[in-house]
């Protein structure tokens, strides 16, 4: 015990009377500025909710973040806040008959979206089923399979990531509106507004939300410096993050990183409102299902069998 107290001089300063006065909030508030002694801590502390900021305020925040990240990762980092394009609802398709479980998408996603390498926080999880297993009985699925080659015989694979629900359980649960659905249907998190209560994690039926239990670590040279405020900018410890359909790419007309990398073309992406899009073709012409439809979250993530 005494050893631990010596390691934390902070706690020694707080005797009982102080504790009674200050309670845990005081302790937390006094502990944090000590660690991040720079002035931007104060700015970050009083930062408004993203959706309540005007253009100028957003620009100020972006500038501050760019400076912070550039210093931290010793390279030029940009933070955009590109808005949703009108007339766009993004949708995703995944061809289960093609997926071979190679998990290239998982690693492309980690690189593109600056997920922490240590501890590792993958946004995409690829479940492996033995043929004949029913996909509703998810305990039968293997998340941590590790064969020498894929696909393993007698197996099939189901990648799961944020389903970008039309009725997201996560945004309904969040007590602070730190997460919301954008006009193009992407569910995003403001990492500067999330209080880390993790109610959204309890609410999401697809295990799509991930929490930064510790300080996220990305090697400087592996950081993707092209970032979006609501997407792949580096995260803080103690906040929730999730797949954003690569908001930094797709709002500029590009494909998500996972779509681009998939070696067998199992992944489809596009604008659901555009009748000529590939995703619309798949939905209209293939055998399609969505995960856990009985929960009525109405995912915009469609699984289908092309063959």
């Amino acid at each position: 015990m005494s050893k631990k107290q010596r390691k934390n001089p902070l706690s020694l300063k707080l005797d009982r009377r102080n504790f009674l006065k200050g309670s845990a909030l005081g302790l937390a508030a006094s502990a944090l500025p000590l660690e991040n002694a720079d002035a931007s801590f104060i700015e970050a502390f009083f930062q408004k909710h993203f959706r309540e900021m005007n253009k100028k305020e957003i620009q100020e925040v972006l500038n501050r973040l760019e400076k912070e990240y550039s210093e931290q990762y010793k390279k030029h980092v940009t933070v955009k806040a590109t808005k949703a394009m009108p007339g766009v609802q993004f949708g995703y398709g995944l061809d289960l008959s093609r997926c071979i479980g190679c998990r290239r998408c998982v690693y492309a996603c980690i690189g593109e979206n600056n997920q922490s390498r240590d501890p590792q926080i993958p946004w995409i999880q690829v479940l492996s089923f033995r043929k004949g297993d029913k996909w509703t009985d998810l305990e039968e699925a293997d998340k941590y399979y590790n064969p020498a080659t894929v696909p393993e015989p007698e197996h099939w694979y189901m990648p799961v990531q944020c389903q970008q629900c039309r009725h997201p359980a996560c945004t309904r649960a969040c007590p602070t509106q730190a997460t919301w659905k954008e006009p193009d249907g992407i569910v995003v998190v403001d990492y500067n507004w999330c209080i880390g209560c993790r109610y959204c994690m309890a609410a999401c039926p697809y295990g799509a939300r991930h929490f930064n239990w510790g300080e996220p670590h990305i090697p400087d040279d592996e950081l993707n410096p092209v970032t979006h405020y609501l997407g792949n900018r580096p995260r803080y410890k103690g906040v929730v993050e999730k797949c954003t359909f690569c908001i930094q790419r797709t709002r500029e007309g590009r494909y998500p990183a996972c779509v681009e990398i998939c070696p067998v073309g199992a992944r489809k992406f596009g604008n659901l409102l555009d009748p000529s899009s590939e995703i619309r073709y798949c939905i209209e012409n293939k055998r399609v299902f969505r995960l856990k439809e009985e929960l009525n979250t109405q995912p915009k993530f469609y699984y289908f069998y092309a063959t």
């Binding site: 706690s11 305990e139 602070t176 999330c194 994690m201």
Partner: protein, 418 residues
């Protein structure tokens, strides 16, 4: 007024050797808890055993249990004001102070569970961006703070009046008292709905959850109070009649009957229909694929609850202090397991994608939890130390108007009889 307050405050510094030892004992755990919390703030919640598949653990379990204590404390004692049930009336204030303490502990447990406690203000209406009425957590913030406010007001008002040697004006606080009853049910219901409203977690998404919450709260809260009352009447001048204690024990017996009945209803539904959703409850009661960390706990909880029920149903054992206290302890432990870890963890196991993660709290989590409980005990002790002399009439302030209009107060404190 202010001076009087400080005079009464002094009371908490005066005590015998045992009192100081007790305070020192609790302070030790509070400080240990704070040291552990400092470490958690520094390293992040990674020092806990919680991970993505099981994202709430010991802290939220304690929170859930304590909401029950807070609710039960007031629902039990408040009717005393209204119906003037003499035997219970004497202890109303003690129950309300317990409710206040329990709510404060609830708030502390939520705080230590947060990734960013300094952003707590984001949760407030107007200054932050409270997601009301959509998020049940926002509701919980509202009902819990309202409950704290109501009970603290009643306690302070009664103490203030008594300290002046006057009888308090029942008409004045009656609306508050009446309000506090549905409100107590409310905090518990809202907390149950917090879990209940998540279709992603079939274990919680059962309509029986809220009724079960209430039934178990009416067992564990009063059981805790019975133990406290007996200690208080030993060490202070407050009289708590045996009759009142036995009456409360009887109420506990009814509540436990309902609780166990609802448990059976739940078990029947899950196991007889045997859908894939049976996995969570199977994990809790029998283990899943060799993972059975919770199994002995829940069976002990059930056994303790059943023994307590038998003890409290039989008037002979109910009115024997030894078996009565044993029953109370059994219930406190039994419900603590059942409505704590036994409720929170199976909600997460198996996870939404089927993962089975075996959660067992780290020593940091345990230290922080013990620290918060010790803080609660300390707070309650100090509140009693402050309130009891006023309540029993040992401490009185008489304010008299002097001719020159100057108000003076004099304190006359009877010597404490040992």
């Amino acid at each position: 007024m202010i001076r009087n307050f400080f005079k009464a405050m002094k009371q908490i510094l005066i005590g015998d050797r045992n009192y100081y030892l007790w305070i020192a004992f609790l302070s030790f755990f509070v400080i240990a808890g704070m040291a552990a919390y400092a470490e958690q703030i520094h390293d992040g919640l990674i020092v806990t055993a919680m991970r993505d598949p099981v994202s709430w653990g010991l802290y939220i379990s304690n929170f859930t249990y304590l909401v029950g204590v807070a609710a039960a404390a007031v629902v039990l004692v408040v009717p005393a004001y209204i119906y003037n049930f003499k035997a219970i009336k004497e202890i109303t204030l003690l129950g309300e102070m317990l409710a206040v303490t329990a709510v404060i502990l609830c708030i502390l447990f939520v705080m230590v569970d947060m990734g960013h406690p300094e952003r707590l203000w984001h949760l407030l209406p107007f200054v932050g961006a409270m997601n009301f009425p959509s998020s049940l957590l926002a509701w919980d913030v509202i009902v819990l703070s309202g409950y704290l406010f109501i009970n603290a007001t009643i306690v302070l008002y009664v103490l203030y009046k008594l300290s002046l040697g006057k009888e308090y004006n029942l008409q004045f606080i009656k609306p508050l008292i009446i309000l506090s009853i549905p409100w107590a049910v409310g905090i518990h219901t809202v907390t149950a709905f917090l879990y209940n409203g998540l279709p992603s977690r079939p274990f919680w998404n059962a309509s029986i959850l809220a009724p079960r919450f209430l039934a178990s709260a009416f067992c564990s809260g009063p059981a805790l109070m019975l133990i406290l009352f007996q200690i208080i009447r030993k060490v202070s001048r407050i009289e708590v009649k045996d009759k009142a204690i036995f009456k409360i024990a009887e109420l506990i017996a009814y509540a436990m009957c309902i609780n166990l009945f609802l448990e059976i209803a739940e078990l029947f539904k899950e196991f007889y229909s045997g859908t894939v959703d049976v996995a969570s409850i199977q994990y809790l009661y029998f283990g899943l694929k060799g993972n059975n960390g919770l199994v002995p706990w829940i069976w002990w909880a059930t056994i303790l609850n059943v023994i307590a029920l038998i003890l409290f149903l039989n008037p002979k054992t109910r009115e024997n202090m030894l078996t009565l206290n044993a029953g109370c302890v059994f219930i406190i432990i039994g419900i603590y397991i059942e409505k704590g870890m036994g409720l929170v963890i199976p909600g997460f196991v198996p996870g939404t994608l089927g993962e089975i993660y075996n959660y067992s709290p780290t020593h940091i989590e345990i230290l922080i939890t013990v620290g918060i409980w010790a803080f609660g005990a300390l707070l309650y002790t100090l509140m009693l130390k402050f309130a009891i002399p006023i309540y029993t009439g040992q401490l009185r302030f008489s304010s008299t108007k002097k001719t020159d209009g100057e108000k003076t107060s004099s304190v006359d404190l009877e010597p404490i009889a040992e």
